[in-house]
């Protein structure tokens, strides 16, 4: 009996507040606009039965998504932004993780804390911090002009470049930590062996270090890629009018256009896109766990 209660309470909570809401999104994405306008009530009548219920549903909203250029472009540009910023984050994060793993062991806890500290400070504030730096009369431009590198200020804020900077900055800890934990476990004698066997330092790095930290690299890339794809805050604060990201489109569809069925359809398609990386990520995590045991 006690066991039943223990299982039932969190189970019921998640069913009611995770699964059911998602089923509603799915249902609304298949409904006509008039039916789904607020206040929306799930219309299900056991008398007319499931047949009539299903007959009401159609893929109109999804067809609409394929007909309007905006959505295609938004999905594609979200994917591109997510891929590029994942690569950039890896390029910035890997050398840092490598340096941390090579640091004297008494420094490591402090370095770890320095990486985690920004993670605990507000996401919104960290994005905001860049607004003052990147604007036309901002500190970066002031610095570049002072250094004599440029004559006229560069437009960085409200462009995709600013979005990339923002994403790399806020998601860097997610990349560093898994790579660091993979590199820290790496046995230094393997590299020595490779060097003894005639590898140069670079060759040893490419042939030994990188492959052995693969699991960390993959985990880090997914941890950056998956949330970036649905990102809303960074493109709306740092991006410009030409920055198209699907999270922003969904938000505007919902709050500005008040088109709930289309917003729901956008959400369903976003989730479908995300299923592949999510499943791959879970498989990677499982493999890593098995390797640890």
């Amino acid at each position: 009996m006690r066991r039943f209660i223990l299982i039932a309470i969190p189970y019921a909570w998640l069913l009611a507040l995770f699964l059911v809401p998602f089923a509603i999104v799915f249902k609304i994405s298949l409904s006509d606009a008039a039916v789904a306008r607020p206040p929306y009530m799930p219309q299900f009548d056991w008398v007319t039965g499931i047949g009539a219920f299903l007959a009401e549903l159609d893929f109109e909203n999804f067809t609409w998504l394929t007909e309007d250029d905006l959505y295609w472009k938004a999905y594609l540009s979200s994917l591109r932004i997510a891929v590029v910023s994942t690569i950039l984050t890896l390029l910035v994060g890997y050398p840092m993780a490598y340096g941390m793993a090579r640091a004297p062991s008494e420094w490591r806890p402090t370095l770890m804390m320095l990486v985690i500290l920004p993670f605990w400070t507000s996401f919104l504030i960290r994005v905001y911090a860049w607004m003052g730096i990147l604007s036309n009369e901002g500190l970066l431009n002031q610095f570049l002009i002072w250094a004599g590198l440029i004559d006229t200020p560069l437009t960085i804020l409200n462009t995709n470049t600013a979005v990339y900077i923002g994403i790399v900055y806020t998601y860097l800890p997610f990349m560093i930590l898994p790579i660091y934990s993979a590199l820290e476990r790496l046995d230094g004698s393997l590299i020595e062996a490779a060097e003894d066997l005639g590898c140069s330092r670079m060759e040893a790095f490419w042939l030994v270090t990188i492959p052995l930290s693969r699991a960390g690299i993959i985990a880090g890339c997914f941890l950056v890629f998956i949330p970036t794809l649905g990102e809303f805050v960074i493109p709306s604060l740092l991006g410009g009018s030409d920055t198209l990201m699907i999270g922003k489109v969904l938000w505007e569809e919902f709050f500005s256009n008040r088109d709930w069925p289309v917003a729901s359809a956008v959400a369903v398609v976003l989730l479908l896109i995300l299923i592949v990386p999510i499943v791959l990520f879970q498989r990677n995590q499982q493999k890593q766990q098995e390797a640890d045991q």
Binding site: L6, L15, R126, G132, I226, A263
Partner: protein, 271 residues
Amino acid sequence: MTRLSWFNTVSLTLGFAFLYIPMVILIIFSFNESKLVTVWAGFSVKWYGELLQNEAFLNAAWVTLKVAVMSSTIATVLGTMAAYVLVRGGRFLGRTLFSGMIYAPLVMPEVITGLSLLLLFIGIGLDRGVMTIVLAHTTFSMCYVSVVVSSRLVTFDRSLEEAALDLGCSAAEAFRLVTLPIIAPAVISGWLLAFTLSLDDLVIASFTSGPAATTLPIKIFSAVRLGVSPEINALSTIMIAIVTVGVVTASLVTKRQLVRQRRDEQNAERS
């Protein structure tokens, strides 16, 4: 390991400069006399004064704090239960669905979680306000709590619990006297994680809050959308200061615990 090579030194220095310079600039300019955030016009704390008189921000901060305390506490109870069920529960009907529902919210884009919860609340006719934000935050943060707690439960020795049961404890007593103290650090860090996630959340709160309740991130977001303002710099500085003190204290406490534990182990070996 030997000293850092020049390459590692450079990459760490540049990397940490990248991570910290924006925040340091933010803090410096919160003490700027000028209204312009990019021009330094002398030291002043006037923006802190204005912030403390801004009732909209203070109200939002109060709502945020209330939501965070309530949601992280409920999430810790539910998440610990879920972790216990997952690790110790054995087989039960719908176990796969259950563990799926524990992990899925972790990777679900916030816009989707927010949208779906809003549609639910409207569907059942629940007025949006503090309560709906608490429900929403509890749902996603209980999943984080259960991941943290279950990783601790997996590694701990089950025979300790069995010994307690053999010695006459009831299941509840064994949990309270043996299991809970051992997993306590994970439960506490789960609570802290849930608390921070709730304080930080903008997207889900925007969907699930009504006109009656606005949280601090929503307030900051709408202020920031209009441009950079020194008042927000002051607010950010206060938040960064609180987090820094919290994280540094927590890490010092764990460090001291580790040192003590190591000393105890050494003493035990010697005797």
